[in-house]
């Protein structure tokens, strides 16, 4: 069976992922491009071609979206390098039919690679609605490559594309031909004629070689430099370039060829496209009138964010109760089945309780991720960058910094990766350093717990909003400080496309949300579970027999059941204090003492370095044990309220808001920032800030509430 390797290239927002998704019966593989962490999607399927009467194994690599083959963004760099160096048979160039001219710019550059190629005119249905008609056959004649009309959203044109892949693959070489202006064509002809006369053995067609030489392509100059023909071709080239310079205002060949590509794209569009009805305003313009309005834009954006957090909290509360009850029942069953011995305790109090605490917050995380995915797929995210750049720019950030920062509210791990869209090193590092201040979804459980315990369910939504906003504001202040004192240098230009508003593709959103939920659960299932058991073990061992026997004697002599209960709790507390976990907490207590934290809170924070979800499960193990004997004291919330003062609780929230993100995020940070030394900086930066801010919060609250 013949194998066809296809490179799928196109500009951003042309529906490449939808096209990949529209190919049914395909095996999907998701990974990364080697060396960098840009997402790489590959699909493989077998196609039976009736004309050749043969099966073909088609392997498609979805390249990152690129406006042109430059090094401007990491995505463009990856695409350019792949197309230049990797092994593949044909290029499939996906083109947005509603944005033909700009898309053809990339097409022109792809045609110059000299590879076999197919153009897919995607979004034909949308183009038709906008009154755009495109003569695909004429376009195919102009470009010299097959042009397939398609609509990935409707699943149209997929079969035609498959058959075209085979057809093009079976051709000996590309038929693509970029036509340049007369001056350049003249010089190409001159060089080609000379090469023909010399019967030069060229690995690529003469025309292509001539174009490369006129573009002063370094690789080809190097390659031809050692050949005898070089001294003869040099004067022709020199004269040719002089001739070209004469006809343009500049001697910059990149600029000259950029103009050529543009002219070709524009010319091609003029010949093949007809606009039937010119609508006064398309929906995008109408929506933009409101959403990026000078005065309404930012309030509307803040409203959306507020609504998202309210929704996360109120709607998420319903399934949370079910999950809580479910795991509670599971724990009882485990106790009933395994007894109250060590095994029963490990399973019920360690494993089930730990995992339950994690799964319980899945609904919140799902809703939050759904909201973020919606912002992204509808095209609103780019508007937000537009609205906010003026603001972010003042803090040494970029409008685009908003995208990783908002992702940071979901999970810090993808957020660190999203910072790659920032091309400028300085802006990227500042963004990376302050990203942790955007409270991630895993910190949400801690806030929900504390807000619920100390402010009641009615106020919890508002408190949550306040926590998120103040974290973000602190991040901005820190960004400004980093910009002023640490990272000084040149700024990244801000030139970005505002894509059309589109209805979200539920399939794509489902994939995003599902993927995020799965990775959260995976983290819960392995890392966090291990951490929970470790915390459970450290809090139960070593057991002091001396304490046990002392209390056993005292409990026996207790007069009332209340006294008995009290003594039992005291015993658990005493056992905890001398356990491994208690010892660690005690040892670090002086560090946290000025913030009003007791050793339990210190331990929970330290366990939270592994993963933020562990903070809640640690508190659960540490406090729930004390009141497991007391039926009236139902739940962790009450335990917290009884053990922690309001100022200390607020200081705790502040500390959690600021200090180092989890192990996984720290590892990603190290990779993205470019070295371990950055992690050390981050550790001191965040811990120092967290400590100072928590101290302030503690004392200010004390003054306010008068404790």
């Amino acid at each position: 069976m013949k194998k066809i390797k296809v490179a799928l290239a196109g500009q951003p927002n042309v529906g490449k992922s939808s096209l990949v998704n529209a190919i049914s019966d395909a095996r999907l593989k998701v990974g990364n491009f080697s060396g960098v962490t840009v997402d790489k999607t590959e699909v493989e399927f077998v196609y039976h071609d009736p004309r050749q009467d043969a099966d073909y194994e088609i392997h498609i690599i979805d390249l990152p979206g690129a406006y042109s083959l430059t090094d401007y963004t990491i995505e463009e760099k990856v695409t350019k390098q792949f197309l230049r160096n990797d092994d593949y048979d044909i290029i499939v160039n996906v083109v947005d039919a509603t944005n033909l001219q700009r898309n053809l710019l990339l097409t022109t550059q792809l045609m110059e690679t000299g590879r076999k190629m197919i153009v897919v005119l995607n979004m034909m249905d949308e183009a038709q609605k906008e009154g755009i008609e495109i003569d695909a056959e004429q376009l195919a004649r102009i470009l010299g490559v097959p042009v397939i009309k398609a609509s990935a959203a409707q699943g149209e044109g997929i079969d035609a594309l498959k058959s075209a892949m085979v057809e093009v693959y079976e051709k000996p070489q590309t038929t693509a031909k970029v036509i340049y202006s007369d001056v350049i064509e003249e010089e190409i002809a001159r060089i080609v004629a000379f090469l023909e006369e010399k019967h030069y053995r060229s690995p690529i067609p003469y025309r292509q070689l001539a174009v490369r030489l006129l573009q002063e392509d370094t690789d080809w100059y190097k390659q031809m430099h050692d050949e005898p023909i070089w001294i003869e071709i040099l004067p022709i080239l020199r004269e040719g370039l002089q001739h070209i310079y004469l006809h343009s205002e500049t001697k910059d060949l990149d600029a000259i060829f950029a103009d050529e590509h543009f002219a070709f794209a524009k010319g091609a569009k003029m010949e093949v496209m007809a606009l039937h009805s010119m609508r006064a305003k398309n929906p995008t313009q109408k929506i933009d009138k409101l959403l990026i309005n000078k005065f309404l834009g930012i309030p509307l954006f803040l409203f959306f964010m507020w609504a998202l957090f309210q929704l996360t909290f109120t709607l998420g509360a319903v399934p949370m109760d079910w999950i809580d009850a479910g795991f509670g029942w599971l724990g009882e069953q485990a106790h009933a089945l395994l007894g109250d011995g060590i095994l029963g305790q490990v399973v019920a109090d360690g494993i089930i309780a730990g995992v339950g605490a994690v799964v319980m917050f899945l609904p919140n995380i799902l809703i939050l991720f759904l909201g973020i995915a919606l912002l992204e797929t509808t095209g609103y995210m780019a508007r937000v960058a537009f609205l906010l750049d003026g603001f972010f720019h003042k803090f040494g950030l970029h409008g685009k910094s908003f995208i990783p920062l908002v992702t940071g509210f979901g999970c810090t791990v993808p957020a660190y990766m999203a910072a790659r869209t920032l091309k400028n090193e300085r802006e990227r590092l500042i963004t990376l350093f302050i990203l942790g201040f955007m409270s991630c979804g895993a910190r949400l459980p801690i806030y929900v717990l504390f807000a619920g315990a100390f402010f009641g369910q009615g106020q919890a939504g508002n408190i949550l909003f306040l926590i998120y906003i103040s974290g973000a504001l602190l991040g901005l202040v820190m960004a400004k400080m980093l910009k002023t004192f640490v990272f000084k240098g040149e700024e990244e230009p801000f030139v970005m496309e505002m894509p059309k508003y589109r209805w979200p593709s539920w399939r794509l959103i489902w994939h995003t949300v599902y993927g995020q939920a799965l990775s959260y659960l995976k983290k819960a299932g392995t890392f966090i579970l291990a951490a929970s058991i470790l915390v459970w073990f450290a809090s139960n061992y070593p057991r002091s027999e001396a304490i046990a026997s002392t209390y056993a004697a005292r409990i026996e002599h207790a007069a009332t059941p209340e006294q008995k209960q009290h003594l039992q709790n005291e015993e658990i507390s005493a056992q905890l204090e001398q356990s491994y976990l208690g010892r660690i907490g005690k040892a670090t207590e002086p560090f946290f003492a000025p913030l009003g934290f007791d050793w339990r809170m210190s331990v929970a924070l330290e366990a939270g370095l592994a993963a933020k979800e562990v903070v809640v499960s640690t508190l659960g193990v540490l406090y729930a044990q004390g009141d497991s004997a007391d039926e009236q004291n139902g739940g962790l919330i009450a335990a917290l309220r009884n053990n922690i003062s309001l100022p200390a609780a607020i200081a705790f929230i502040v500390f959690v808001m600021i200090y180092l993100p989890c192990f996984a995020a720290s590892a990603v940070f190290t990779r993205e920032a470019g070295g371990w030394k950055y992690l050390v900086y981050l550790f001191f930066f965040t811990t120092g800030t967290a400590w100072v801010m928590a101290l302030l919060a503690y004392h200010i609250t004390r003054v306010i509430v008068g404790v």
Partner: protein, 74 residues
């Protein structure tokens, strides 16, 4: 006259780009080239960012970048 001096709703033709190579490549990939028509769609508060329409594409620029695009109103 440069692009950043225009107001919402103004139409202009690009005359010259005064950008360095990186920025010019970026401009070129969006079709921001001499001879093309632009329409100012929206300016943010204090004119920090400008949204322009060029052909069928809508692009957001910062004032610093818009300063580097010389235009003539039409």
């Amino acid at each position: 006259m440069v692009l950043s001096e225009l107001h919402k709703g103004d139409k202009a033709e690009i005359v010259k780009l005064k950008a360095n190579k990186t920025l010019r490549d970026r401009f070129a990939s969006f079709g921001i080239l001499p001879g093309e028509q632009v329409v100012i769609r929206e300016c943010s508060l204090a004119k920090q960012t400008i949204e322009v329409e060029i052909g069928t594409t809508i692009i957001a620029l910062r004032k610093e970048e818009a300063d580097k695009i010389e235009v003539e109103t039409t």
